[in-house]
């Protein structure tokens, strides 16, 4: 009888929660595995969708924005320019969308079995990370095609950029998920909102076209990520450490707030979900 569980009216946060999260890592693995496994069942091209989607988007954007609208792209061929932005953006937006829905879509499990609820959003973001990795394969091809070789130091920056994106998506997603438990409006508002957000993030255009206003764009942490991804991989500009630092701190705070809100709602959402 080594394990002793005490059930009390729940406190919002306790350090033993972290240890518990670690103890349930196997379940995290299985949730991620389930999501990946189920995702492309009953589809013809299967995991091909993870490549197809960003690739076609890139082609369409290249034709309309790059070719017809002559969007500036910091001296890099437009397809590769927009593709770097797109894969990070899709990682962020799909992770955010999934995380915000995670409590509702796993309602059946939440009301019947106990496990640290934070596992659900984390596993859904990891699933998206796999998509990102698949889509990144295309990027490698594109870079070969256009003859770009990234600097080693640039590649080392990628994990940090992913970490920032991860924190932004999970942090924001947790807040939205908590609201979603009570107000289902989130489900309808979010896709629309994400679409708008695409235009205030320098995905299809370089931040430089905003000129003096680009500082305001920096409020958006994804701007720091995408700008620096381009800087690191394509050498469009020197890496902007200040912007990166601000994004990192902002996303970290967002994540903490997200966890706090989530833990607060966690106490009662099995009752109302």
């Amino acid at each position: 009888m080594s394990i002793i569980t005490t059930i009390k009216p729940k406190k919002i946060f306790h350090f033993s929660d972290l240890r518990e999260l670690w103890n349930y890592k196997e379940l995290l693995y299985f949730f991620t595995w389930r999501d990946l496994k189920v995702r492309y069942k009953q589809t013809v091209i299967g995991a091909g969708w993870a490549i197809f989607q960003p690739f076609i988007t890139m082609v369409v954007f290249s034709i309309f924005f790059g070719g017809l609208a002559k969007m500036p792209s910091d001296g890099v061929p437009y397809p590769i320019f927009v593709y770097v932005g797109l894969i990070f953006w899709q990682f962020f937006s799909s992770a955010l969308g999934d995380t915000s829905n995670v409590l509702i879509s796993n309602q059946a499990i939440i009301t019947k079995v106990y496990f640290p609820r934070l596992i659900l959003p984390i596993s859904s973001v990891i699933t998206k990370l796999v998509d990102f990795a698949i889509a990144a394969a295309i990027l490698v091809g594109l870079m070969f095609y256009y003859g770009y070789t990234p600097h080693i130091s640039g590649l080392l920056l990628i994990p940090l950029l992913l970490l920032i994106t991860f924190m932004a998506a999970v942090g924001g997603g947790l807040i939205l998920a908590s609201i979603n438990v009570k107000y289902r409006d989130v489900r309808y508002a979010l896709p629309f909102f994400i679409q708008l957000l695409l235009f205030v993030t320098p995905v299809i255009y370089p931040a430089s076209i905003a000129g003096a206003y680009s500082k305001f764009l920096a409020i958006n942490p994804m701007m720091g990520v995408i700008q620096n991804a381009r800087a690191a991989l394509l050498g469009t500009a020197p890496i902007n450490w200040l912007l990166l630092g601000i994004s990192l701190i902002a996303c970290f705070i967002l994540l903490i707030v997200g966890i706090y809100v989530f833990k607060k709602v966690e106490r009662y959402f099995a009752d109302i979900v």
């Binding site: 002793i4 059930i7 019947k112 009570k182 409006d185």
Partner: protein, 424 residues
């Protein structure tokens, strides 16, 4: 006795119920409300935050206290809405209590539903692993139990078919099978045996029996199936309207739950019973069973007993009285009728207060089981009082023939003599 494995102290759970709107609240409504009546809105938000709003608080559970010792199988029974499921949800940490504390020593597995987290697109094999992980098994554990799970579920052929193509029976069998192979120290089960066909239910019960008897696991078991509870549990807790109404011996608690008045040593008081028929000039006060002039609470096959009831008349003379006892099986099937009508022993008149006795003039013939007794009183042609199921009594194993041989094949025993003679 070792220290308890589950300690539940003062557990209470309240829900706030708002009457105006059901379902979920749309953000739009909140916003339009806020614009239409900004002051009222701010006021109500302020009250919400400071906890001043008058919401109706509903206590689903209140002051729940009990302990469970290692190896005990405890049944939790009660009517729908009594709070059983809420209690189990708190015990399995799905929702947290409003007040109180529970200490659980050991690994807890809870089974509030079979097949939680089953994904229709995944195959049987994949779902075994997924479901196992959700129930808290490690991959190693599952790998070692995999074959046993598949065998128990009888789905070898369909192991690699997505479960959405399974028949509902196969689905449920697989789900139960995974759950049944969990090995926690404490197992919390909610009404999951009500699945599958009769054969499989029997198999499930057998498995549960094995888990409890052989593996010595501690189990909390909620069910409406009294047969299952009786079979599995050594102790019961009766919950009514959110409080523990009684706890103790399974049979006693079940009969209390079923509102069956179990015979006790002090007898069964029936003065409060209103479901009686008859003119009522004589009223039955209480019922009891005697053995050698002493009241008993359980009977034994082969014993010598006297069925008795106390009555009071309203003072008017009551003449030509016929008394009848009928003993029925638990299912209601009549088994034995004892009546002055049959023996022509009517009482010419009754004292105002008295006891009517019917001594069973032979060895008690009924085998082990639970039986009901009804009483009927007639004065002349008029029925004066009739109480159906005045009491319930248990019959334990006894030595009817004085040979020490028991049998379950005979519901009723008779005196018998055997002989053999040569045939010419």
């Amino acid at each position: 006795m070792s220290s308890p494995i589950i300690e539940v102290k003062n557990i209470a759970k309240s829900y706030k119920i708002t009457h105006e709107r059901g379902g979920y609240i749309a953000l739009r409504d909140v916003i339009t409300d806020a614009f239409k009546h900004p002051l009222r809105y701010l006021g109500s938000k302020f009250k919400d935050m400071t906890g001043l709003t008058k919401k109706e608080v509903f206590w689903a559970l209140k002051d729940i206290n009990f302990t469970v010792n290692p190896g005990e199988v405890v049944g939790i029974i009660g009517h729908n809405g009594a709070g059983k499921s809420t209690l189990l949800k708190i015990l399995s940490q799905i929702t947290s209590p409003t007040e109180g504390e529970i200490t659980l020593h050991g690994k807890v597995g809870s089974l509030l539903e079979v097949g939680t987290g089953f994904h229709p697109e995944l195959t049987g094999r994949e779902n075994i692993f997924l479901n196992g992980a959700i129930l808290g098994m490690t991959r190693k554990e599952m790998a070692s139990k995999f074959d046993a799970i598949v065998r128990f579920a009888e789905i070898e052929k369909f192991l690699d078919t997505p479960v959405k193509y399974y028949s509902s029976g196969m689905y449920v069998r697989l789900a139960f099978s995974v759950a049944a192979h969990m090995e926690p120290d404490i197992l919390i089960i909610d009404e999951v045996l009500a699945v599958g066909d009769a054969d499989f239910q029997k198999k499930c019960l057998g498995k549960m029996d094995q888990i409890t008897r052989e593996d010595g696991r501690t189990i909390l078991f909620v069910s409406h199936n009294m047969e299952a509870v009786r079979k599995l549990c050594n102790r019961c807790i009766l919950i009514e309207k959110g409080v523990v109404k009684a706890s103790g011996d399974t049979d006693e608690i079940i009969s209390m739950y079923l509102k069956d008045p179990l015979v006790r040593e002090k007898g069964v008081d029936v003065r409060m019973r209103h479901d009686r028929k008859g003119a009522g000039r004589v009223k039955i006060d209480s019922f009891f069973i005697e053995e050698n002039g002493k009241k008993v609470n359980t009977l034994k096959t082969g014993g010598s007993y006297t069925l008795c009831f106390e009555y009071t008349t309203d003072g008017s003379p009551v003449n030509d009285v016929n008394a009848t006892f009928s003993i029925t099986a638990e299912s209601g099937t009549p088994l034995i009728l004892a009546s002055t009508n049959l023996t022509k022993e009517q009482f010419a008149t009754l004292p105002q207060k008295g006891v009517i006795r019917c001594s069973i003039d032979q060895k008690f013939p009924l085998n082990v089981g639970t039986y009901g007794v009804s009483v009927d009183l007639h004065a002349g042609e008029n029925r004066e009082d009739h109480v159906k199921n005045v009491a319930v009594f248990r019959v334990d194993e006894g030595d009817y023939y004085g040979t020490g041989v028991q049998t379950a094949h005979s519901p009723i025993f008779i005196d018998q003599k055997w002989s053999v003679v040569e045939r010419k």
